[in-house]
Symmetry: D2
Subunit: 333 residues, 4 copies
C-alpha cells in the first residue's frame, strides 16, 4: 500500500482524497492544509492522520499530492523531493519560469516519479484521439485545432492572482497541444482582446485569445480561448492528418434530445465546469500516477512538461507584446 | 446509518455493495450468499459480517438487498417482510404471476418500503425524458417507442431458466413503458420470431419480438427487442406528444469521432452491456431506495410495478399464442 | 424523345412538368386538366399543347403521367393502356381493392412500363438503406422500423375523401416496408386512436396508428404514424440485421447548429412537407420511369406494388376491426 | 427579361447557363468561349447565339457573366463596364492587387451592379450563420473559426497558375471572414507548411496554412486550410459571441447512418467537391445577382469585396515572409 500525504484540502484536494480512497494500491495516510479545519474535515472523513505542517505530512508518506495554492508548489516539490517521496503536483509548478528552473535544479538528483496535474491528457476522449494518431490511423499528423472556452468569467480576485490568461488557462491547451503533436512547437504566435470585460485591460490581461504554433517539421496548431461561453464549458480537440481526422468532442450528462415547434434536436448542456467535465480525467490521472509509483515508472505528465508549457505561455506573452512569431529558443528562464 | 444486509454476492450484488459503501446514510452490515466463498470475499473487502443463512443476515439489518437467483426472490421478500425490514429486490419478483400474487398477499400487512430493481427508471436520460413529458414539454403524450436490443445471445443455460424473452428481457421495457406512459396499458399485442438462433424454438422461446400496447385513453406504445445487435447494446426511448418529441439515446464511453477515406463521423461503440450502460442507473436506483428508507417513503418502482410488468409479459405470451390483441383484464394470477 | 402527356396540372403535376423539362430524353408534348385554366398555365409555361380531354392528350403521347384526383386513376390507367402508352400514375391506383383488381384485369394484355408514384422508394437515403441491406452490409435483415409523421392534420375535406389513414398515409409506409423487407408481409396487426382530433371518429378515421407485420420467414416490421408532429415532417427508416443496422434519417435545409444559454446543438427544422422532403425522390422517380420507357424495362414500383400495398391497408382495417393478426391471404379484392 | 451574355463555357460557365435557363427573369442570349466548340455546345443546348468575340457577346446583352480564366477577368470587367452592362465575375478579379486597383479606376464611373463570384456567401448554412449573428442571436460576435480543406491536391499545372494558396484558396475564406465579421480585419498573421507535397516549395507555395486576424474592435478570426483532406471537402464556419455560438457544418448527400460490429454511426461522405457542396450557393448567388440587376441594387459581393480579400491575401503573404502581425494598411496596390 502506497501511503499518501495530501497537501491542500480544497476542492481538488478532496477529489484526490476520494480517488485514493477507492484505489486498491494506496491509502490516505495523512492530510495537511494551512486552514486546520479543512484538514480536520478530510482527516475525519477518511480516518487518517492530520499533520501540523506540510513537512510533517511529507515525512509520513510514500507519495505526496500537492494541491495547495500555486505559490507553494515549487517549495513543496523541493521539500518532497528532498524527503525522497514520489510527487504529484497540481499545475502550474509556478508562474515564474525562473522559479521553475530553480526548482528543477534543486531537485536535480531526485529519481522518483513526479507528475504534474495536466488532467486533460487523461480524459478518455482526448486520449483516444492521441492514441488514434499515434497508432497511425490518421496518417501523418498535420494540423491540431484546440477549442477551449470557460463557461463564465472567473472572479476578479482569481484573475488578479492567475498570472494572465496564457499561464492560467491556455497553459492547459499548450500542454494538450504538445501531447497531441508529439513534437515540440518551436514558433508561437498569439494575439487577443478584452471582448468580455474591457476592464481586464487594467490587469494587463485578456479574455479572448488565439494562438498559432508551428513545430520543427512544420506541423501547425491553433488554440482559441474564451473566458465566457454562455452555452457551457467548450472543450474540443481536432487532429487532422494525411489519412483522416479525429475530433474529441464535448460531453453531456445524458443523451436526451428534444424536438419542439421551434427547435430540433436540442441536446443537454455540456458538462460544466472542469470538475464535472474532467472528473474521469482527474481520477484516471491520479490512478496513473499511483501505477507509476508502484512500478517506479516515469509519469505521462512530467516536471519537464510543466516547464515546457510555461515556456510556451511566456512565448505567447512575448508574441503578444511584439506582434511576431516567437521562437521558443528565445524564451529563457 | 441504515444497516444493510446483502443477499447474493454475484455481479449485481457486488455493484450494490460498492454503492452502499459510498452512501453516507448506509453501511453494509452483513452479507450472505449460498456460495460461502462469494460472501466471504465481499465480507472481507468491506469489513462486514458474513451470515450463515439469509434469515441470519436479514435479522441483523434495517434493510435487505435481494440479489440472489430469481427463484429465491419471493421467499426472501416474504422473510424480510416478516422481519419488518425495508426491501430492495432485483427483478423479477418471480416468473409465475400466481407466485407473485401469493407473495403480495403474504406480505399484505407490510408497510415498509419495498423496491423492485427496475434500474432503467433511474437512468438519467430515460428519466429526463419522462420528466420532460410530465412537465408538459411535449404536450399530451401520444406515442412511445422503445428499442431494446442486447449485444449478443445469452448462453443456452441462461435462456433455459429465463422464463422466455417477454418475462426476461421485455419485462424491463414493459416497466419502462408504464413509467413513460403514466397510464396503464390495457391491450397488448405481441409477435416474434427466432431469426438469430432457430434452435430457440426448442425452448419455445423467441429472439426477435415486436409488441404494441394501447392504454385506456388511446396512447400507443411500441417495443422492439432483439437478443443480438452486433453494434452493441441498443437502448433508446422515444416519447411523442402533441407539442413535441424527446428521445433518450445511447451512451458512449467518450465523444471521439473518426473521419477517414471510407467513413465519416464514426463514433465510439455504445456502452456494452447493461452493467456499463446502466451503471449510473444502478447506483441512482439504490440511492433512491436508501432515501425512501430514511424518509419512509414509497419507492419509485414498487412491488405492484413488478407484478404489473409480469402481467404484461403474460399478456404478451397469450397474444403470441392466440394472434390477437389481449386485454390485460384477461390476465389473472 | 419521349413525348409526355401530363394529366392533372396541380401541385404534383407541375413538379412532374418541371422534371420532364429538365430531362434530356423526354419532352412535355401535351397537358390536360379538368380545370382548363390550370392546363393552360402549364401549357403556356412549357410551350406545349393543351388537350380538351384526357383521351386527346393520351393520343398525342408516348407516355402518360397521371396526376389527377384519385377516383380517376384507374380509368386513366385503362385508357392509357388501351392506347398502348407507357404509364406513370400517382398513388393510389384506387381506394377500392376490387376496382384495382378490375383495372389489373382490364389492362391484362398491356406490356408497356407502368409505374406507381411511390416516391419514397427513390429517396436517396431510403434507397441507400435498402441498397445497403441488399448488398449484405447488415447481414440477414431481421427488423424494420418505419416512423412516418405528418407535420399537421390535413383539412376535413381532404380527410373525408382520403379513404382513411391506412389507405391514405400508411400506404406509403406499407410500400416502403415491402421495398425494404424484400419479402411479402403475410400477417398484419394494426391499432390506433384519435388523439389529435377526437372528432375524426365521426369519419371512422384515426390520427395515430401503430402497425406490426411479419413475413413468411419471420422478419418483423413496425410502422408508426401520426397526423401531426409539431416539430415537422418526420420520416425515418431503420433496418436491423444480423450484421448491423442502418438508419435513414430526416433531412434539413442546411447544417446550422445553434448553441445558447438554454439550448445546445439546436438544428434546423426538418424539411416540411413531402414536396420539400421528397423533392429529389419525385425527380428521381420520374427520371427512373423515363429510363424504363427508353429501355422498355419494368419500373421499380409496379402496378402490383400498388395493389399489394392497398391489400396491406385493407388488412390493417380488418385487423383494427377484429383486434387480431390478419393473414394477407384473407384479403380478397 | 434580362439578356445574359455568358463568357466562358467551362464547368462553372455551364452551371451558370443552367441557372439562367431556370430563372424566370433572365434568358441566355449569347455565349462566348475562346474554344469555339465549347461555346457551340452550350449555344446549341440552350438555343442561343454564339459570339465570335467577347466584345460581340457583351454588345448583345444586358448583363455579362464572366467565367473565363483569371487573367482575362479584369479586361472583361472593363469592357463590360464600358458597354454599360451589369457584371457578374468569377473570383478573383486578378491575382495582382495593382491590376485590380487599375481596374477599379478604369470602371470608376460605372454605376451598374457588379458582383464577384464569392459563392460561399450564398450557401444556405453559412448565410444562416451570418443572419443569426446579425440578428443578435449570439450577442456580440467575438470569434470566428473557419475550417476549409480541399479533398485532394490540385494538379501541378493548376497550382503553378494559382497565385499561391492565399490568393487561390484562402481568398474564399478571407471573403467569408469579412462577411461574417461584419467589420474589416486590420491585422493578419499567417504561417504554413508543405506537409502534403514537399515539392510545392519549388513553387514557393504551401499546402497547409493557418491564419489569425484581428479587427479594429478586437474581434478574432482563425482560418485553417489544407489542400488534401482524405475524408472529403471540409467546409465549416463557427461564430462565437457573448450570447452563444452557431456552427455551419458539412453537408452530405443524404442522412444514412450505418452501425456495424466495428463502427457506430457512420455517416455519408461530405459532398465533394465545391461544385456539389456549393451547388445551391452557385445558384442562389447568381439568382441574387439577377435580382440586383432587375432592381438596380448593389450586390452582396462587390468589386470592393474582391479587392479587399485580395489585400488580405497579400497581407498573409507578407506576414509569412516576415513572421509578424501585418497591418492591412501596409498593403498598397
Amino acid at each position: 500500500m502506497i501511503k499518501i500525504a495530501l497537501l491542500g484540502c480544497g476542492r481538488i484536494g478532496k477529489m484526490h482524497a476520494a480517488t485514493v480512497a477507492r484505489a486498491p494500491s494506496a491509502e490516505l495516510a495523512v492530510v495537511y492544509d494551512p486552514i486546520g479545519a479543512a484538514a480536520e474535515e478530510v482527516g475525519r472523513h477518511y480516518g487518517c492522520a492530520v499533520a501540523a505542517s506540510a513537512e510533517e505530512a511529507i515525512a509520513q508518506a510514500d507519495a505526496v499530492l500537492i494541491a495547495t495554492s500555486t505559490p507553494t508548489h515549487a517549495d513543496l516539490i523541493e521539500a518532497s523531493a528532498r524527503a525522497g517521496k514520489a510527487i504529484f503536483c497540481e499545475k502550474p509548478i509556478d508562474l515564474s519560469l525562473s522559479r521553475v528552473a530553480a526548482c528543477r535544479q534543486a531537485i536535480g538528483g531526485f529519481s522518483g516519479p513526479i507528475q504534474i496535474g495536466f488532467n486533460r491528457r487523461f480524459d478518455p476522449g482526448h486520449r483516444a484521439a492521441r492514441d488514434s494518431a499515434r497508432a497511425g490511423e490518421i496518417g501523418e499528423l498535420q494540423q491540431v485545432v484546440i477549442t477551449s472556452r470557460d463557461p463564465g468569467l472567473a472572479s476578479r480576485d482569481y484573475l488578479k492572482a492567475s498570472g494572465g490568461i496564457f499561464k492560467d488557462m491556455t497553459i492547459h491547451d499548450f500542454d494538450l497541444a504538445r501531447f497531441m503533436l508529439d513534437e515540440e512547437p518551436v514558433e508561437v504566435f498569439a494575439t487577443g482582446s478584452t471582448l468580455i470585460d474591457p476592464t481586464l485591460a487594467e490587469l494587463n490581461d485578456l479574455d479572448s485569445v488565439m494562438v498559432v504554433m508551428r513545430t520543427e517539421s512544420g506541423k501547425l496548431c491553433h488554440i482559441n480561448n474564451s473566458r465566457a461561453a454562455v452555452y457551457g464549458y467548450d472543450q474540443r480537440v481536432e487532429l487532422f492528418g494525411s489519412k483522416g481526422m479525429v475530433i474529441s468532442g464535448n460531453r453531456k450528462a445524458h443523451e436526451l434530445e428534444r424536438f419542439g415547434a421551434t427547435a430540433t434536436g436540442v441536446g443537454e448542456p455540456y458538462l460544466n465546469f472542469f470538475i464535472e467535465r474532467y472528473a474521469e480525467a482527474f481520477t484516471l490521472g491520479l490512478e496513473s500516477f499511483l501505477k507509476c509509483v508502484e512500478e517506479n515508472r516515469t509519469p505521462d505528465a512530467t516536471f519537464e512538461d510543466g516547464e515546457k508549457s510555461l515556456a510556451l505561455a511566456e512565448a505567447a506573452n512575448l508574441s503578444l507584446a511584439e506582434g511576431r512569431f516567437v521562437n521558443i529558443r528565445e524564451i529563457r528562464a
